[in-house]
């Protein structure tokens, strides 16, 4: 059942008609496969999420290819907007975390940020209305890419033993503390980090979408020709709008946090943290 189905069925189910509140749950994040094809033993399901991923990828590539097709020294129009994005990633994230070394990671961070941001953003675009990042597999995919970038990079740059030594034995700590610190550092950096990285993004987008869906359903559920019905419905609608506005902020913030953490991880891999 998709979100639209829940809301549509909610329109027939009212407080006054003795129907229980059809609270939206995990089912609003499930989409029916419109097309399934097989690659070996693997079933590939083409769903709304798949379409959104393709749409976002195409829009992203098209916009930036258009904006940067013939860049001028004095920018105008789309180039201005694109440059704003580029300098934000370069100066605000890459150089902020890594200094001048960050310049070569700008394309990576740029792609990460704008893909995640757009995937968050489609959550409030009418008819699309599902943040792609609220599907756990997507943040996992991004966190995996990041994890498989900074760990090999750190081993390559620092050497296998020094990489783990620098991570697990930060300087300036009394020697006995390493008994406690070394396992904690190892677990938090190598084991837990990809989970926190992906879950942070997923949980924020999931919860935000669930909240908006709940209040949208409540708007229809409560509506009736009574004081309680009108007040409740209007209040729910107002909260839906307010939450949507709040979501815009969260979407950008979560994309920023994810990308900034990526830059910090890469920075830590480039040279030992002190």
């Amino acid at each position: 059942m998709s979100a639209e189905v829940v809301i549509a069925s909610g329109a027939d189910c009212h407080l006054m008609s003795g129907c229980g509140f059809p609270a939206p749950g995990a089912e609003i994040f499930q989409f029916d496969a419109v097309w399934t094809f097989h690659v070996g033993s693997l079933d590939l399901h083409i769903t709304k999420i798949t379409f959104l991923i393709i749409l976002i990828s195409v829009v992203l590539m098209a916009f930036f290819l258009y904006a940067f097709r013939k860049p001028k020294l004095v920018p105008r129009g789309a180039q201005n907007v694109g440059e704003l994005g580029y300098t934000f990633i370069r100066d605000g994230i890459a150089r902020e975390a890594m200094g001048k070394d960050g310049d070569k990671f700008v394309p990576f961070l740029f792609t990460l940020f704008f893909m995640i941001w757009l995937m968050n953003f489609v959550g409030i675009v009418p008819f699309l209305q599902i943040p792609v990042t609220s599907i756990f597999a997507i943040p996992v995919a991004f966190a995996l890419i990041v994890y498989l970038s900074w760990v090999p990079l750190g081993i390559y740059r620092q050497g296998f033993i020094p990489f783990f030594k620098n991570m697990m034995f930060p300087p300036g700590v009394p020697a006995p503390m390493y008994v406690l610190l070394a396992p904690i550092e190892f677990i938090s950096n190598i084991v837990v980090r990809p989970f926190t990285h992906s879950v942070r993004l997923f949980a924020n987008m999931f919860a935000g979408h669930l909240l908006i869906a709940s209040f949208s359903v409540a708007t229809f559920y409560l509506i009736s020709a009574s004081v309680v019905g009108i007040l409740g419905s209007v209040a729910s609608f107002a909260v839906t709008i307010a939450l949507t506005g709040f979501e815009v902020l969260i979407q950008a913030l979560q994309a920023y946090i994810f990308t900034l953490l990526t830059a910090v991880y890469i920075s830590g891999a480039l040279k030992a943290e002190h």
Partner: protein, 186 residues
């Protein structure tokens, strides 16, 4: 649907195919996410971003180049000013040296002229004095002789005796003149 993570909710709900856990990671979605990222990363990283990076670098260069040119111009102006000041100082020094030299030259010339004049005057004086002395000596000799002759002539006429070539007469005249000289000197 293939899940990477064990889905507790799916197991709990009796494995309903419709309702897997939200924390399940279907491998097809994961793969699509990965492919999408790498395609976008490849296209943006290879085609779109190098162009804008180049442009931004060029712009930075242009701005910094402008600043550089301004700095160069300022440095040049400063250098020209320094040179001008140095030239001015040199010219002043030269003028001062010339003035000093002129002063010295003038003093020297005056001194020289004075010396020359003094020497010339000295020479003239010496010559005049010599001439005077010679004239006087000549005049004295001539006068002595003439006076002697006159006196002898006169005395001869008075005594009627020729006293012309007499040594004694000459002695007398000389004695007389010497006596006369002594009287003049006194």
């Amino acid at each position: 649907m293939t899940n990477l993570f064990a889905s507790v909710a799916v197991i709990a709900s009796g494995g309903a195919e419709e309702m897997p856990s939200v924390l399940s990671v279907p491998i097809d979605e994961l793969i699509i996410g990965l492919i999408a990222f790498f395609v976008v990363f490849g296209v943006l990283g290879k085609l779109a971003l190098p162009a804008i990076k180049k442009t931004l670098d060029e712009r930075t260069n242009t701005i910094e180049g402008g600043i550089g040119r301004a700095e160069a111009a300022q440095a040049e102006a400063q250098q020209v000013l320094e040179e001008y000041k140095a030239q001015l100082a040199a010219a002043r020094e030269e003028a001062s040296a010339i003035r000093t030299q002129a002063q010295a030259d003038r003093t020297a010339i005056i001194e020289e002229a004075r010396n020359e004049a003094r020497v010339a005057a000295q020479a003239v004086t010496t010559a005049a004095e010599a001439q005077l002395a010679a004239d006087r000596a000549q005049a004295t000799a001539s006068l002595t002789r003439q006076v002697g002759e006159l006196a002898v002539g006169l005395a001869g006429k008075v005594v009627g005796v020729s006293l012309t070539d007499d040594a004694r007469v000459r002695q007398t005249v000389e004695d007389f003149i010497n006596d006369l000289d002594q009287q003049v000197a006194r």
